[in-house]
Amino acid sequence: MNGRIVVVSLAVLMVLVLTAWVFVYLKPWVVRMVALYPYTLSATFEELERLFERENGGVDLELKPYHVREELYTLLDEGEVDIVIAEDLSVMEMLSENGYVNWYLEFATGDGGTAYYIAVSRNSKHLEQALAFTQLLLSEEGKDVLREYGYEPVTPAMGFGDVPEELREYALEFKSVIDWLGRRVIVPKPVKRVVSIVPMITLSILMMDGGDLLVGVDSVSPTSELLTKVFPQIKNIPVAGAPWSVNIELILSLDPDVVLTTDRPMEVVKKFEELEIPVVIVPMGRLHCDQLPEAIRLIGKVIDREDKAEELASYCEEKMMALMNVTSKIPRSERAKVYIAISDGLKTHITYISRDIVWIAGGVNVAENLSGPAGGGPPMAAVSMETVLTWNPDVIITWDPKVKELILSDPRWAEVNAVKNNRVYVIPRGLRSWITPEPEAFLGAMWLAEKLNPDAFSFNFEEEVKLFYHRFLGYELSDEELSRILSGEYGVEIPGT
């Protein structure tokens, strides 16, 4: 009898002890959350943990510090992780690419400009609590803790990716873009105020329906006659200058989300960086033809017109491929020798694009081995009459009708093949000349292909141009405008008139 009581009591006691142990130590109702963070933040996060657990009874935050980013990846692979803190945007981008996280926030900066990011794992089973911790981190309380430990909270935090509803009040959304030089540039998302100080970039933006985002434009675009017809609003947009003569104060006053420019001169880019104006570099002027679609995609990404940009870029690629399919089979020796005549006829274009377009069109640019002055020099070279006579080009394409007239009236040119065979053509000019590095260059390539090999190509070119303007600029070209484009008659208006 006694023994039974003892046994039962013992059993009950054991159960009680077991239960107590379970309750005291295992706490099955407590939510357990794992956060990975760089060990340098240990003290801060221990403080935050206390704060969090005091306010959120029943949640147990487990802190796992890591020392190097490889360790972070291992920890992520090993087990469930709810919250990730990282010291570097590139880490977050990597996690984002690999599907660990959908979004991340920059919440603080530390010594030497280190930026700190927080993200909640996409697979987190404790989404609500993880978001609650993030909210705490972004709240005034959390910021006080950060300040206490010598970090500067980013207010509002900068959000990247699909930032959840709960956090939107704490964060502005941003995106990071890698520009042509590989610089990472952080720009607001969506971009609302864009400044472009390079005409070719301005045109690309217009062609991807981004005209309404422009708050400042280059000094050249508003002088293009056709452009002011296609996009009349350009007259009302402040002129921000050009890369070498940029109006920094005006740009500051325009409060742009991003400035698109080229890298020459680099001092201007540095200036923008100093002033903390996000600046994306797309060096349109010195791109190869096949790089243009990529540049267009990049611009599209910056101004959140990815779809339109893709459409434009693939249009360019298609046209290029269609031409190349035919022309790449033409051996060099059989290609027509093409000379591009500018100004007084003895200046020629030496940009990549002017060589590429001739090549794609099935010719070869006689001046392809000329290189211009290095650096930001003019994209032109001067040649002597004798050099031209030595080249003896089969086809001359001229920058404008005046150059053609000049060449045809000058006895020195009379014995050049192109003149003898009446193959001097004026390069068409739409928004800009068709051999400048902007999407219209591909129309230029088609035009030239037809001139060089009339037998091989027979597309309905006029329809094509109208379609291009309709599709990318929403503009219906009249027949008169079309014929002016093709005859190269569209001049550039004189600034100020």
């Binding site: 005409p199 000094s219 050249v220 002088t223 050009a242 070498w244 003569s245 002027g285 500018i342 100004s343 007084d344 006829g345 003895l346 200046k347 081995n369 000329l370 211009g372 003019p378 994209p379 032109m380 070279a381 001067a382 040649v383 002597s384 009459m385 004798e386 050099t387 006579l389 030595t390 003896n392 920058w399 404008d400 005046k402 000049l406 000058d410 006895p411 020195r412 009379a414 014995e415 800009r432 000349s433 400048t436 550039v492 004189i494 600034p495 100020g496």
Partner: protein
Amino acid sequence: MVSRYQVLEDILEEVRGRKSLVATALILAPILSFLLSLLVGRYQISPQIVFSVLISKILPFHYDVPKQVEIVIIQVRLPRAIAAALVGAALALSGTSFQGLFRNPLVSSQILGVASGAGFGAALALLLSGDPVIVQVSAFGFGIVAVAISYALSRTYRETSLLTLVLAGIVVGALFSALISLIKYVADPYEKLPSITFWLMGSLSAVSFRELTWNFIPIVVPCIILVLARWRLNVLSLGEEEAKALGIDVERMRMLVISCCTLMTAAAVSIAGMVGWVGLVIPHIGRMLVGPDHKVLVPASIAIGAAYLLIVDSMVRIVSTFEMPLGVLTAIIGAPFFAYLLRKRTVSWR
């Protein structure tokens, strides 16, 4: 004291002593450099063919060459060589005249702003039209306008003093330089700006007989006038008072020299663009060779200027496929030489 330039000095002394030798050299130099400049170029033609074609043009016999070869010799090289000779002579002569007139060996043909004015005229025309004819006319016109403004500004006092004239020239030059910058600022950097830049650096690559016919008279006529009036430059270089005491109508004489120099320089600049240093350095070379007497110095400057530009332009043509700017090369050669003269100033002036 043995100067490190002693050797050169000795040679020059030697040369100065042999007047006829110097005279012969001065006559031959432009002729030889003219022939040289007809022989060199990118288009390969043997000297024999060049001369045969040239002679066949003068003497009535037929010489059969491909049409293109003939074009290269007659339409391309010949006008270019003539232009180089004319421009070099004009710039050197106006430099010499101005140095005499202003009694200052440091002035050049550009002192009254003619080059800046012409540069502005060309830049403006390149911006607005681009037609080479208009560019030339505009360069010529604005070159003259610039000097006219300088002269008018300095006339605000009772009479023109040289100092106010020089100051007015500097002011006008600066004004037009600023206007050039303004045009470069507004010019489309992908289309217009390079043409303007090229023009401003100077080149003879586009010269044809058409340009020459227009500019022949404004260069040659003032040239003849100055050669005839060259001895008066000696008297003018004594200064205003002494020249007056020697019966010279200083005001009118100055006007004549300035008009002639301006016409020549404006025409030269409108053909060749900005070609610096010729008008500054050549007079000094001339003085080293034949002394300061303008009676001899003026023809010597013409010969040396023509030869110098012919040789530099020949170099421009050979050096590379693309055309090196002429103005750049004349400066690269002229500036170090001038630096030497500055160090050794007793050679040519006190």
